[in-house]
Symmetry: C2
Subunit: 351 residues, 2 copies
């Protein structure tokens, strides 16, 4: 019998999730895990993926009929993907010491069916396997399909990426500029330092959305009538997207990937998009997507990434921020996603 | 030399356009028209088309780089399409007494290049030629292409039409139900009487958006998890569209045709769409369009309409509201569009 600490969802969230105070969102407990049965594996969490999408799974307002993954139940461990080490295996597919990707949740140890684990082949250039949680995992795939399948981005396009210093954004910028060869790639991020970094990844320009001149900066960067954006890869929603609706070229395409600016807002606090009419007069397309819809094409994208890595077209080590900490700090690290605290993929290394 | 009264755009509009008071939006003048030159025609306006889109052409806030037709200039006659009678022709294509469709503007008489006029062949069943301004003109074509080309509506779809008692909406309802054979067609309109009328055209159900139970009515009409809408043909935008974002099925398609609820609002008064995140989680597509983009396919649609008329699948006489009035009442009649005063296509008969 293995004892494991777990962060449970204590109470569904309406605003910013909490760890302390009355009725906090998350609660740390210690629990006895069952022994692995046949075809099950006991794993020990080593690295944890931090993703804005997790916020949606614990939202009090969320209608379960309209979630693409089942919501986390109160009293259950918080859901999350992680890199884990096999401690004990009752499956012929994995052996002790193997490194796997799994939905471990916020749990030091987990007993999981072997078929839910994903192996982690060695990466070229000896790159760390944590990239399977980010650039070479669902985050990178999200950026890839959001640009290709969802809105058919080509080298003729001027592409804008919001949340460009985030895990998905920094991959979208690099894929657009360095793999698809887009005419112009403009990022948006929350500080001058982040913007400089996004430009170092390949963006022709990156605008600081916290700057007082942001609205003017967008207009200058995307001038009428021929400089408007053809593609907008949107990670943030809210006021930035509202401004962007006003800067899209005729027949422009918006790849709706995320809306992090509103994940901790509900009801009246949610930002309302006023420039909806632009969709009509400019004949825009806004297309929502979830990376899981493109699962059958993952191998194709992974092959593109492998080649791009070999050709030096993807900077992934620079786009990974590994935060070391005790298991007790897991929610605190995750919350950095919502305060602009991360640059690139935020990964927690469990000490 | 012909004298003609004209309604000029006196001052671009920010809110609801005005006729009286300080600096009104429109101003009535009398002017001398030039003699028609070679290949020009003098026409007398007989019926005027009233269209919500005209509001966009006189908006003070409108960015000229983002309009699909040139804006009306202050001091010029208000732009409009009309049915007119040829009074004098210097073109071999038209003769005195011919009935034509033309961009006459709000002008009793107009001198126009013959190539800008459109002939009006007799309609089957002796139907009035005013239908060329509505059901069988751009309004009907808008409904047709908005359902077919824009979002590929099929008989498997549950379709919702907002502004269903309007000129475009009433055609969208009939095309969806009676021509495309859609599974369910639900209209939305602004009174119980209008709703009853929309149902008489073929809608399975029509909801009164002014009812206090509207939000509940939508949920009941489009129940989770299998009753959600696959297609939303949107004429109104604003709060109704916000509610509908929450009732779309996975991979649902929104045909963004109009946003009349906000045409007279600007700045803070504009309704902000809060349910943007639904686009992502439900993988929705929102596609804006303008009927002019489908000009090369007009003949195909007209043929569909002709056959549907023969087969009794389109009620068009019922969807035409002809308001008789003096030329001095032209703007007042047009303003009925924004107060819910019309049912079906609003046409002004110039007395």
């Amino acid at each position: 019998m293995v004892k494991s600490r777990q962060w449970l969802l204590n109470a569904k969230a309406t605003g910013l999730p909490t760890i302390e105070g009355d009725n906090p969102t998350f609660k740390l407990v210690e629990t006895d895990l069952p022994e692995p049965k046949d075809d099950e594996v006991l794993v020990k969490l080593t690295y944890l993926s931090n993703d804005p999408a997790q916020r949606g799974w614990i939202s009090k307002d969320a209608d379960p009929d309209r979630l693409y993954v089942p919501p986390v139940k109160e009293g259950s461990p918080m859901n999350a993907r992680g890199l884990a080490e096999v401690v004990e295996s009752k499956s012929s597919s994995f052996k002790k010491g193997d490194t796997v990707i799994a939905s471990t949740g916020w749990s030091e140890y987990a007993v999981l069916p072997a078929k839910q684990l994903q192996p982690t082949p060695d990466l070229p250039g000896g790159k760390g396997k944590t990239h399977y949680l980010g650039a070479l995992g669902l985050t990178g795939l999200t950026a890839y399909f959001g640009l290709t399948e969802v809105v058919g981005t080509t080298s003729d396009d001027t592409v804008v990426v919001s949340g460009a210093a985030g895990a998905t954004g920094m991959m979208a910028v690099q894929i657009a500029k360095n793999i698809l060869g887009c005419k112009r790639v403009i990022g948006m991020a929350g500080s001058d330092e982040k913007c400089k970094w996004v430009e170092s990844l390949g963006a022709d320009l990156c605008l600081n959305y916290k700057s007082s001149s942001f609205e003017e900066d967008i207009k200058k960067a995307l001038p009428a009538p021929d400089g408007f954006a053809n593609v907008y890869f949107d990670n943030v929603g809210g006021s930035i997207t509202d401004l962007m609706l006003n800067r899209m070229a005729k027949y422009g395409r918006i790849s709706c990937c995320g809306a992090i600016s509103n994940y901790n807002n509900s009801g009246d606090a949610t930002y309302g998009i006023k420039n909806w009419f632009e969709i009509i007069i400019m004949r825009l397309q806004c297309k929502g997507f979830i990376v899981l819809d493109y699962m059958d094409k993952y191998p194709e994208a992974r092959e593109v990434f492998r080649k791009a890595l070999e050709d030096g077209k993807l900077k992934i080590d620079e786009g990974e921020q590994i935060v070391k900490g005790g298991f007790e700090d897991v929610p605190k690290t995750w919350l950095q996603l919502f305060s602009g605290g991360n640059t690139g993929k935020l990964v927690t290394a469990i000490q």
